[in-house]
Amino acid sequence: MDTLAVRARGISKCFGDVVALDGVDLDVPQGQIHGLVGPNGAGKTTLLGLLLGLAVADTGTLDILGTPLGRAPAAPDGVAGFVDGPGLYPSLTARQNLAALAALRGSDARTAGIDDVLAQVGLTDVADDRARGFSLGMRQRLGLAAALLTRPRLLVLDEPSNGLDPAGKRHVHRVLDRLAAEGTAVVLSSHRMDDVEALCSEVTILATGRVVFSGPLTKLAAENRELEYRVLTSDPAAAREVAAGADGVALVESAARSRHGADAFVVRALVPAMDDLVAALVRAGIAVRELAPVVSPLEAAFLALTEQQEAGR
């Protein structure tokens, strides 16, 4: 039995004539990393803002960590995170930023675990540098450290991977995985589908303020949807002939060929048709050296669902 960190029912929010959220439902159990994806203007930041208590919904109910949010914007204890980038004060060092925040929450800077959270996000070496000189990735990591300082039970992050180098991304992923394992619910938005796939067990796709999908990534991948696959074989010419004759498989001849290399080709098919194609290639004595979706199942679903929603407007 899961306990819910977030329970939203029929949330709507308008800014003047603009409908930012339209009847959104969302459940996030504790210990889950939940991805929020959608095109620009889909309402992701507005929804994250509501979770952080920065505003109140016009209609609907929202329970955060078991507390129904009232009409005054304020999140309960245990909620941390940021939207539109972390809030840092450039005239303070990384350590001073965290110490000021710890003092604000009534903690002693010496015992608040500042060094620990700095180490977790890999900023120990620059702890005493002013935030003014930090890169976007360093700012993101310091924002995460600031959120960790409050020992959150619900962590809300808007594009946490923005500007991160591979090492920084590894730090962030490691921290989020550990938090989730310890029971913290994480809701994050991202345009990086690889990040969402690497981190999230469930995802909600928003388009024009509405939920167009919400559920496990495995469910999304199992949707009956054609994907493009890049195929690299030991005999490209023969393989291409086999693919051309296979049922349910369409060769994609385009600029993709030059992009994917002369030895590779791209086909579009459902998963069962791809299974048949691989079997046919092996039967023909052609070794399959590489087979991978050109775009991830999540990205493909995202594009299909959001385009469908846009077309339906």
Binding site: T3, R7, D27, L54, Q96, L104, R105
Partner: protein, 460 residues
């Protein structure tokens, strides 16, 4: 797919035990804001400058042969250390305090817009009301620190460089060092009221105009507009309805009897402005939508919630002051000016007598009177201008004939004037007299005075 795939409530999920919503206390928020303000280099530099520069300025000018005699009390900087802080106060009321409040209060909210930290702050503090209180208190603290620095530095600089001597008031009477000290401190305290009003206007600008430079400059622009207004021939009631009038009306502390009514009205008006502007800023702030990134400069709301109420406040204050006092004219009349010039001349004549080692006389023996005319028009009896001419007459014990001296007066709209001796030169010409602090110009040669724009009051 347009429906959510999550199970509805009651289908296996249970809600976690409720967490409390506990906003951060104002005290902690205040400390946080003070830390942020003090961490800014420009604030540190301002604090340093306010605590050092006035003292150095007063000390340096007091050692010059030429004094800033066009500034109120500037001509007495050689005579006493208490003149320096008043020169600093005059400059501060015109320039320093409006600019300082702009930099501190005018930026305290806008800085969060510029840095993009509003959401961070809201998540951390969880109460816009407490954020407002903390920011307002923190900016007030820094402004007080700056004002105290200006005053303390000017006083220390004056006392160390010139000494603790008697100060010549605006009606020529001598204030003992202890009285001068008290009045200087009172004058600086009175200047806090319009400073608070400007700070509140700064908060309003900072909240309503966001990162726009207009928000930062609002207190300075308002102060400049008020200075310009004070130079115009406005009715006294309107002059006093402006929140900056207390930057001028502290002059009344340095006459005997003191001109306290304009000072008290000025202070009260400034405090009302401070309260109203702060309340408007608060209302604007707590209604702000922090999820809307475009919300930081809603010009229409700034006008309707910010400027219109302040304009109404000016009109209301004007009406109240006009109803309470007969003050629809310029306040500068021939009888008031004659009385003021005669009083100042009598006091300064006694000072000159002492400095020239002549037999002492009293004001009663001198029986000084003045007859003033304005320009070539004998019927003109009121208003500011540099075309006032006064003939002063006095008597000496045992001397049959009355003495006379002529002064040309430059009277400004706020009631201040400079009297310039126009003969006879043995009385009010330029010559040096010996004083305990060294040679000084003849005190009757040129002197500053002040006409009370309202009717005369008694010093409390």
């Amino acid at each position: 797919m347009t429906a959510t795939a999550t199970p509805a409530a009651g289908e296996g999920n249970v809600v976690t035990p409720a967490a409390a919503t506990r906003p951060v206390s104002v005290a902690r928020g205040y400390r946080f804001e003070v830390v942020k303000l003090v961490s800014q280099w420009r604030i540190r530099l301002l604090v340093l400058a306010c605590w050092i520069v006035p003292g150095l300025f007063v000390a340096a000018v007091s050692r010059q042969s030429t004094l800033p005699s066009d500034t109120l009390f500037g001509r007495w900087m050689h005579a006493t250390g208490w003149a320096g802080p008043l020169v600093v106060l005059g400059f501060s009321g015109s320039w320093a305090l409006p600019l300082l409040t702009s930099v501190v209060a005018g930026d305290v909210f806008a800085a969060e817009d510029r840095l993009g930290t509003w959401r961070h702050l809201l998540v951390a503090v969880r109460s816009p009301r407490r954020i407002f209180a903390a920011k307002a208190l923190a900016s007030l603290t820094v402004i007080l620190l700056l004002v105290v620095g200006l005053a303390a530095s000017g006083i220390v600089g004056g006392l160390l460089s010139v000494g603790d001597h008697a100060l010549v008031g605006l009606d020529g009477h001598l204030l003992a060092p202890s009285d001068a000290a008290g009045d200087v401190l009172l004058a600086w305290t009175a200047a806090l009221a319009p400073t608070l009003a400007l700070a509140a206007i700064g908060l309003l600008g900072s909240v309503s105009l966001g990162r726009s430079p207009m928000g930062l400059l609002l207190p300075a622009l308002v102060a400049l507009a008020m200075q310009l207004a004070q130079m115009l021939p406005l009715p006294v009631a309107l002059r006093m309805a402006l929140p900056g009038y207390a930057f001028i009306s502290w002059n009344g502390l340095f006459t005997d009897p003191g001109q306290l009514r304009p000072l008290l009205i000025g202070v009260a008006v400034s405090l009302v402005w401070a309260v109203v502007a702060t309340a408007l800023a608060y209302l604007l702030f707590v209604r702000r939508d922090f999820t809307n990134a475009q919300h930081d400069s809603t010009a229409r709301r700034a006008v309707t919630t910010g400027l219109i109420p302040l304009a109404v406040l000016v009109a209301a204050t004007f009406a109240i002051v006009a109803a309470a006092t007969p003050s629809m004219g310029s306040g500068i009349t021939k009888p008031k000016l004659q009385r003021s010039v005669a009083t100042a001349f009598a006091h300064l004549y006694r000072m000159q007598t002492r400095q020239l080692n002549r037999p002492a006389v009293t004001e009663a023996q001198l029986r000084v009177s003045a007859a003033c005319t304005k320009g070539d028009d004998d019927s003109a009896t009121q208003g500011a201008g540099n075309d006032w001419r006064c003939v002063v007459t006095w008597h000496l014990p045992g001397v049959e004939a009355a003495g006379t001296a002529i002064y040309q007066l430059d009277v400004t709209s706020d009631g201040r004037y400079v009297a310039d001796g126009d003969g006879p030169k043995e009385v009010n010409g330029y010559f040096l007299v010996r004083t305990p602090q060294g040679d000084a110009p003849n005190p009757l040669w040129q002197f500053d005075g002040n006409v009370e724009l309202l009717s005369t009051s008694q010093k409390g």
